[in-house]
Amino acid sequence: MLSKKIIDQFKVKPGSKVQLRSFDTSWDGDDEFKHLSKDELKEKAAAVLEQSRQEMFEAQRRLFAQDRYSVLAVLQAMDAAGKDGTIKHVLSGINPEGCQVVSFKQPSVEELDHDFLWRVNKALPERGRIGIFNRSHYEEVLVVRVHPAILANERLPGSKTGKEFWQERYEDINAFERHLARNGTVIVKFFLQISRKEQKERFLARLDDPEKHWKFSPGDVDERAFWDDYMDAFDDAIEATSTPWGPWYIIPADKKWVARALVARILANTILSLDLAPAPTSPEQEAENTAARQQLVSEAA
């Protein structure tokens, strides 16, 4: 399907340097795909997506039945990078009883009166379930860093500012995620990266299509002025928070079909890496089952 080598190149090794500006957002294959035409490549991506989905859905059944681990996938990206579409294409058709998608919007007044992980904590997937965060606690070191006015609104005590302040937030996030990982939540984090040019194309496409108007706000264009600030914030955040227990993957997303296939494959691999063998039935349960069987069989007579 996809070699480990291909997948590993998108993983941010803990402690390694991140420079999003030098990342190839339009990546669509390695040397091993060179012989394929564009259409063949797309077909291959579609096949990877479909097979990964099937494997994931099957693994989800076992995850749910075993009820020991939960899976948390975090999706972050610039506007129009395809988070919603990725969720739709990777996860539509999954048994919704074992999967939840949470979108984090503007925090409420109550949420602002708590620490920044409070609302995130409430939305975590329970054992046996897959949780997808469409945006997440990482907004607290991204948009909040780019727009200091938001931070001022958080009513924080303390006087730390600048580098030191963000450094503490990264530490808090790492500690929080490590706590989750130690208690059975498997965490995988995706940054869908598009180029600034691709974002412009997609905004224009939204403006052209009345059915997509609802997704657009004129403020989205103004936000492009902060593109470089966002890249700096992402560089630092991803670098500081890609850990063995919560690795980041930087996904080339200029081509939607590439991003979807990669996310599906990595998410499926993450779930399949767990030991999902069913818990053995206890002797009491066995006895109960036997008694139940006897009763049911005798009722027929």
Partner: protein, 306 residues
């Protein structure tokens, strides 16, 4: 899609009493089901299901974009009714970003210390979303009624008030049904589309399904000794259901009684009825107001000038 008359056919008309024994859970023998048994065989049903799934997927996108309505689907049935099958089929094309399932398990101490609707109220869908309740507050007038020891655990005040205040009295259950109707009416008036499905299986079909589970090592984990306890209370549960269904099928939150013995029938009906109900809301991608459109032109200029 199933014919539109089916929505009416399986709907329990508000104000009518139902006798579950009179329903043919296997659907072929009942006069009510005869009318469509000629038109609908298994392959037709499958076609109708697939069609409903794809229409539903698009309707859900619009519901999400429109962001005025939420959809609550309540699913019930005796143990062994294949509620999971309905969920799996109905939701198989649906985007999980706009749809989730809530299964209610044993109430926590905190939940018991609140009124009996509290935990269900907290789990309701927000605008733009669809939530399927696997079990619901109807357990509070059915399950709890058939297993009276549960009502004792609810710490309800007992020493004051009318007969309707006396836990376990006939008036008590009536009162709860009235409260549920009022609760649902408030929800419906504030933008929730409520559909309730009762999957009716026969006692013999339940026996067959339990045995099948117990004999399959891969499926056995799904069997719970509580299922057998419920089987042993079959009659009490059916009676409690008859009263609850009869009293709580309303214009704003109707019950649909679906024949559940054939695994392919109920999902097709549920998907079709649900899809038609959402389409009837008439939701569409929102039109951006003129004033905002001016901002769009400005935005386009800025982008093109870059």
């Amino acid at each position: 899609m199933i014919p539109s008359e089916f929505s009416q056919l399986f709907r329990l008309q508000p104000g009518t009493s139902i006798s579950l024994d009179a329903f043919d859970t296997a659907w072929e023998g009942s006069p009510a089901f005869k009318t469509w048994s000629d038109q609908l065989d298994q392959s037709l049903a499958l076609q109708a299901l697939e069609q409903a799934q794809s229409i539903l997927a698009e309707a859900q996108e619009k519901l999400y974009a429109d962001d005025h309505w939420a959809v609550l689907v309540v699913l019930h049935g005796q143990a062994g009714a294949d509620i999971d099958g309905v969920i799996r089929h109905v939701a198989s094309g649906v985007n999980p970003q706009g749809c989730s399932v809530t299964a209610f398990r044993k109430a926590s101490s905190e939940e018991i210390d609140h009124d009996y609707l509290w935990r269900y109220h907290k789990a309701l869908p927000e605008r733009g979303r669809m939530v399927l309740f696997k079990d619901s507050y109807y357990n509070q007038v059915v399950q709890v009624r058939a297993f009276p020891e549960q009502i004792a655990k609810q710490r309800l005040p007992v020493n004051k008030g009318s007969a309707a205040q006396k836990p376990g009295s006939p008036e008590f259950w009536k009162r709860r049904c009235t409260e549920i109707n009022a609760f649902e009416q408030q929800l419906a008036a504030n933008g929730k589309l409520i559909l309730k499905f009762f999957l009716d299986i026969s006692r013999e079909e339940q026996r067959r399904r339990f045995l099948k589970l117990l004999e399959d090592p891969a499926e056995r984990w799904k069997f719970n000794s509580a299922d057998l306890a419920e089987r042993n209370q079959w009659q009490a549960l059916q009676q409690a259901w008859e009263e609850a269904l009869s009293q709580t099928s309303t214009d704003w939150a109707p019950w649909y009684i679906l024949p559940g013995d054939h695994a392919w029938v109920a999902p097709t009906l549920a998907a079709g009825i649900l899809t038609r109900a959402i389409l009837d809301l008439g939701v569409d991608y929102p039109k951006v107001p003129e004033a905002v459109l001016a901002g769009f032109t400005e935005a386009r200029k800025k982008l093109e000038a870059e």
